[in-house]
């Protein structure tokens, strides 16, 4: 258990460094043409064509309640799969793949914004920077959460 490392694709979102477990990442895309879906939940940026598959694009900034007008928004996206459906998460930029030992994960600070609490698996302390581990499942079941909230 001790030396088991987990690999993450690091992404940047409004300046914040986040990590997505590498095994759930299917694709990393550069800017894509996205078709807007009217009436859709605001976090849904639209749909896009990925080699003949229709992928639902999620605006991660909106999903996490970040400022929407930030620079570089939606330039890149990461394709993940949730319940058999492909989703593309719009992010600012993609960084390196990083590996961390399992036991170094820290619990979310209790003061963290509720939206972040809901989707974060934990925090890694890196030198000079903190990395938020995003839980893909929790990121994408927001449709259900909204439904129950409403």
């Amino acid at each position: 258990m001790k030396n088991e490392n987990r690999d993450f694709v690091t992404i940047r979102l409004s300046g914040q460094l986040c990590g997505i477990p590498i095994l759930s990442v299917h694709d990393v895309l550069s800017e894509q043409r996205i078709t807007v879906v009217p009436l859709a939940p605001s976090a849904v940026a639209g749909v896009l064509n990925l080699r003949g598959r229709i992928v639902t694009a999620i605006n991660l900034r909106k999903r996490l309640g970040l400022d929407d007008s930030g620079e570089g928004d939606g330039k890149m996206s990461i394709v993940v799969e949730y319940e058999g459906e492909p989703y593309s998460l719009l992010i600012d930029s993609v960084g390196d793949v990083m590996s961390f030992p399992e036991e170094k994960v820290e619990r979310n600070p209790v003061t963290l914004d509720e939206r972040w609490q809901g989707v974060s698996e934990g925090i890694y302390r890196m030198e000079g920077e903190l990395l938020v581990i995003l839980d893909v499942e929790k990121l994408l079941n927001f449709g259900k959460n909204q439904a129950t909230a409403a």
Binding site: P38, L39, P41, V44, N49, I54, Y87, F142
Partner: protein, 1036 residues
């Protein structure tokens, strides 16, 4: 009707039978092969299991189809196989042979079945007893030698077989059998004449005519025989055969066969008995072909005809070769005899015409074709952008091929929904016996095609629902009679396409769902509290049956209530993205409606643009396209910001796509709307026609409907999404969803277009388009849109006074302008909105303050009004709304001006007495004053039995106008009663209905209506009344 049903049933039987034949002959072929493998490897369990399963299936299907002979043979075979499987018996060549013999017997019976649709006569007791002996562990010595021989035949290659076979080895019995099967010399002349006649009759297309009739055939056959006997390698085939007989048979056969009537001559086996009994080989057959060719050339036939005849022979020789193999396999005389008679020369038997393909293969093909279509679209897009390309012609061809390929692949997946229904008549029949009920099963739209996979998925739910309807829905005959219904209950299935969906309705005229019982059960199962139940509508309560464990039948019958409830049905339908809903009226019946989207299909869609975004609208729901701009014939007009369009003689409500999609931008809206031109896509959902306003219309494209991601699935507006030719993803609009979005008051069944016949009599007030307006005070008023001819805004300065009443000039005529009440003041300046009503060539305007809205709703008058000019008050769009009585105002307008009437029906004042029957009070209120105004004396009743009471009282009428859809006794029933006798027997009758299918018209005439008028079409109602009364007077 009766013979139609019988015919349908026959056809269903045919389909079942041919499916069975195909399936069974495939299974048998597999078993044949597998058995041989098993014999070599008796311990191979998977093979044994497979054989057992196949034979078991055959047995099961035979039992289902009522084929006792097949079933007993298969059953006996299965017993033996079962013993093998359980290890109780060792697989021996002898027992395998016996099973093979049983399979051969099955094949024979199948062949007979295919030819005559009936199980051929025959005795299988010997075979079965042998099988039983083996099954019980005994041996069958008598069969052993035969078994050995058969085994050899199977294992040895064919060539060796026939070389082992010496000429002349054929038994005499066999020959006799072959001769017996062929027509004797006595029949010959007749045959020949018949054949000659046939050849004369035929259009000269068949080979026989081309080679010159019967005479050349004679010569050819003669020479052919001589050649065969002269050739050493094939001479043996004719050994022991009477040459003259053989020539005659071959000639008759060829005459018939080449004349295109293969069934009228002797069979292949009779004509080529020698070839078969001597076990002709491929090699020998080649020689025979060569000989035939040389003979044909010798008689100076043109090369084309030579080829044709040789080709025909080759076709026949396939059968001959096959039979020759059979013949050498089964040397037993009995088998041979049966096979000889059962086999027919008919080519292309059902068994060979269809093949089975793994669904996955089709699925992959479909995906590839979808991709191909998309790529094609992309190429075509590129082509359109370049002016003159050398690619254009090959691309056109590619495009066409793609389209055809796509259609072909689609076809392989599409099956008529009737396939899923095929077993239902049988089920209903059995149910009738079992439950002692009388049930008539009607199936409409059985040829509606849907995707194979979808079909498979709904098969079971459908069967279950029909069973339910018959079991729980339809009452016992005595109860039905007591309730005043026909003794025979009806279960009706109806399938149709609607807006890219397939709707299947299952309607019964049974007892309906008992609301009180459901309530009690819901309470017991703690699905809802008493308070909640009190709040719920009947429909909501009835929907509880979709919850788990909710069977309403008091006792579980053998038929339904086996733990598979409606909840399973619902979840199965929802699994494929469908919905199911129900409407039920206690005592009247229940109607289920299943809506299945065509998510797998490629559909043609119209691409439109709205606010720079493209959308697809399924072509199937687009009626027409209208371009509207300020300078064109069509323009969008606004009534209090509600856009409407005049299209021919209708006023269409419009929906702005940008608004319903929430893309409208208030600032640009006003300026842009004024300047730009719009396109209007006229769509229809159910009976509701409306226009969707879009910015731009592009061409139509074949699109592959892909379901949207689960998070977007709640959006009713979209039916799915797809990838366009340019690689862009676009959303597919769902007109049904759009309609259900615009009307808050519309309940969720809007899109179903359910025929509101038997089941929903109480909610008779069907949805109609209603115009809401304000006129004095704060009250909201309404009038059915169908009564309004036009909406106008007139300049108040053009309003003049005539006889102290306001009038204005409208289209060159004076139009009276009435106000809703005398206290209402016309506007003093600006423009006055006016509702224009037309009646014949008269028009009348009602001055109003403003038009508020146009919407679809039921007019359900809750408070009838004592005030003149008002029909009553109804709740529309959640607000109490006064429904105005147009007829009253027409009377008011023309009561003062109408005396100057010169033409039309308004002038007739002969006080003809009309009887008006309609269950809709609203309609009666609407039409009665109108007819009185036209000078008729009206008696109105709201149901047929009251009308018949009037007849008993001896009241006489000049004309009877009756609604068709009425509770208890409908218009058809009423007409039948009237025509049966009594004082009204000769009275002209006019049917009124909101349905106007030719079938209804025909039915109406059949039961005695003289004419048929569509409801709310006042113009034709009036003229029909005049016409019918005129006729009556002329006759008198």
């Amino acid at each position: 009707m009766t013979h139609l049903v019988t015919w349908k049933r026959l056809r269903v039987m045919d389909d079942l039978l041919s499916e069975f034949l195909t399936e069974t002959s495939e299974s048998i072929d597999v078993v044949d092969v597998e058995l041989v493998t098993l014999e070599q490897d008796p311990t191979n369990k998977p093979i044994l299991d497979n054989i057992f399963r196949l034979v078991h299936t055959i047995k099961g299907t035979c039992g289902f189809l009522g084929l006792p002979r097949l079933e007993t043979v298969a059953h006996a075979g299965e017993n033996v196989l079962g013993k093998f499987r359980d290890g109780e018996l060792v697989v021996t060549p002898g027992s395998v042979t016996l099973i093979l013999a049983a399979l051969d017997r099955i094949k024979e019976i199948l062949a007979g079945l295919e030819a005559t649709q009936k199980e051929p006569e025959g005795d299988d007791s010997e075979l079965i007893s042998q099988l039983n002996v083996v099954a019980s562990g005994g041996t069958i010595d008598a069969q052993a030698p035969v078994a050995e021989e058969v085994e050899d035949d199977i294992v040895l290659p064919e060539i060796t077989q026939s070389s082992n076979m010496l000429p002349g080895q054929v038994s005499l019995e066999e020959l006799e059998a072959a001769f017996a099967a062929a027509p004797g010399p006595d029949d010959e002349d007749n045959d020949e004449n018949a054949a000659a006649e046939e050849s004369a009759e035929s259009e000269g297309e068949d080979i026989l005519t081309r080679i010159g009739g019967v005479e050349p055939v004679k010569v050819i056959v003669h020479l052919f025989h001589n050649r065969i006997l002269a050739d050493a390698s094939v001479k043996g085939l004719m050994a022991g055969i009477n040459t003259r007989d053989s020539k005659d048979k071959m000639r008759n056969f060829l005459t018939a066969y080449l004349g295109g009537k293969p069934d009228s001559g002797p069979s292949v086996s009779a004509a080529f008995a020698g070839f078969i009994s001597h076990g002709i080989t491929e090699q020998q057959n080649e020689t025979v072909c060569k000989l035939l060719t040389s003979v044909l050339e010798e008689v100076d036939l043109p090369p084309l005809e030579v080829d044709a005849v040789v080709e025909s022979y080759r076709a026949i020789s396939v059968d001959i070769l096959a039979e020759a193999r059979d013949a050498s396999k089964n040397n037993s005389k009995k088998d041979k005899d049966a096979a000889g008679t059962a086999k027919k020369s008919g080519e292309g038997s059902v068994a060979n015409q269809s093949i089975r393909v793994n669904v996955q293969v089709l699925e992959d093909l479909m995906t590839m074709v979808s991709e191909l279509v998309l790529t094609r679209n992309q190429l075509m897009q590129l082509l359109r952008n370049s002016d003159d390309s050398e690619f254009s012609i090959p691309l056109q061809r590619l495009s066409q091929c793609t389209t055809e390929l796509q259609e072909g692949v689609m076809k392989t997946r599409m099956q008529p929904v009737g396939n899923a229904w095929a077993k239902l008549p049988r089920i209903i029949r059995d149910l009738q016996l079992e439950l002692d009920k009388k049930i008539d099963l009607q199936m409409l739209g059985a040829d509606t095609e849907l995707d194979r996979q979808v079909l498979e998925m709904i098969k079971d739910p459908l069967t279950h629902m029909v069973r339910n309807s018959a079991d729980h829905g339809i009452e016992m005959p005595a109860d039905r009679l007591a309730a005043g219904k026909k003794e025979t209950g009806t279960v009706r299935l109806n399938a149709f396409h609607e807006g890219g969906h397939i709707i299947i309705e299952i309607t019964d005229d049974g007892a309906g769902l008992p609301v009180e019982k459901l309530k009690a059960k819901a309470l017991k199962n703690e699905l809802a509290t008493q308070e909640e139940l009190d709040e719920m509508s009947d429909n909501q309560i009835q929907r509880f049956i979709f919850h788990a464990g909710f069977s309403t039948a008091e006792k579980v019958t053998a038929v339904s209530g086996r733990g598979v409830g409606m909840d399973v049905v619902r979840s199965n339908i929802e699994k494929i993205g469908g919905t199911v809903d129900l409407k039920s009226i206690e005592g009247k019946g229940t109607s289920f409606s299943i809506k299945i989207p065509l998510t797998l299909a490629i559909v043609s869609a119209l691409i439109v643009e709205c606010r720079k975004e493209k959308f697809a609208i399924p072509q199937i729901s687009v009626l027409e396209l209208v371009r509207a701009s300020h300078d064109s014939e069509h323009k969008i007009e606004h009534i209090n910001n509600t856009p409407v369009l005049r299209l021919r003689d209708r006023l269409l409500p419009l929906i702005r796509l940008d608004e319903i999609l929430g893309m409208a931008d208030a600032e640009t809206d006003t300026d842009e709307a004024a300047s730009k031109e719009d396109y209007i896509v006229i769509s229809q959902v159910g009976t509701f026609t409306f226009g969707i306003v879009v910015d731009q219309v592009f061409d139509t494209e074949e699109i592959v409907v892909k379901p949207v991601a689960p998070i977007l699935r709640d959006l009713q507006t979209f039916a799915g999404n797809t990838i366009l030719g340019d690689g862009k993803v676009i959303m597919i609009l769902d007109p049904n969803g759009i309609v259900s979005q615009i009307g808050d008051n519309m309940n969720d069944t809007t899109g179903f277009g359910m025929e509101e016949e038997e089941t929903s009599k109480k909610t008779k007030d069907e949805k109609e388009a209603i115009l809401l307006f304000g006129a004095g005070g704060n009250d909201c008023r309404a009038v059915p849109l169908s009564l309004v001819a036009r909406l106008e805004e007139i300049d108040v300065t053009s309003i003049e006074k005539s006889d102290g009443k306001p009038v204005f000039q409208y289209r060159g005529r004076l139009m009276p302008l009435v106000t809703l009440d005398d206290s209402y003041q016309l506007k003093e300046e600006g423009r006055q909105p006016v509702l224009v009503f037309a009646d014949g060539d008269k028009t009348m305007g009602i001055a109003v303050d403003e038009i508020l809205d146009i919407l679809e709703d039921e007019i359900d008058i809750e408070l009838s009004s004592g005030i003149q000019g008002q029909v009553g008050t109804a709740v529309i769009n959640g607000k109490a709304t006064e429904i105005i009585d147009v007829a009253y105002y027409i009377e008011k307008a023309f009561g003062t001006l109408g005396t100057s009437s010169t033409s039309g029906h308004m002038g007739i004042r002969d006080q003809s007495h009309l009887l008006l029957i309609d269950d809709s009070k609203f309609f009666l209120n609407m039409i009665k004053p109108l007819l009185s105004a036209a000078g008729y004396k009206i008696t109105a009743v709201d149901n047929a039995s009251d009308a018949l009471k009037l007849r008993e009282k001896g009241e006489d009428f000049d004309l009877i106008i009756s609604d068709i859809e009425m509770p208890d006794m409908d218009g058809f029933g009423f007409a039948e009663k009237v025509r049966e006798g009594g004082i009204w027997q000769k009275t002209p009758m006019v049917a009124l209905s909101s349905h106007q299918t030719p079938k209804d018209f025909a039915r109406g005439r059949e039961v005695g209506f003289d004419d048929y008028v569509v409801k709310l079409d006042r113009e034709s109602l009036m003229s029909t009344i005049v016409e019918q009364i005129g006729k009556k007077q002329n006759a008198a």
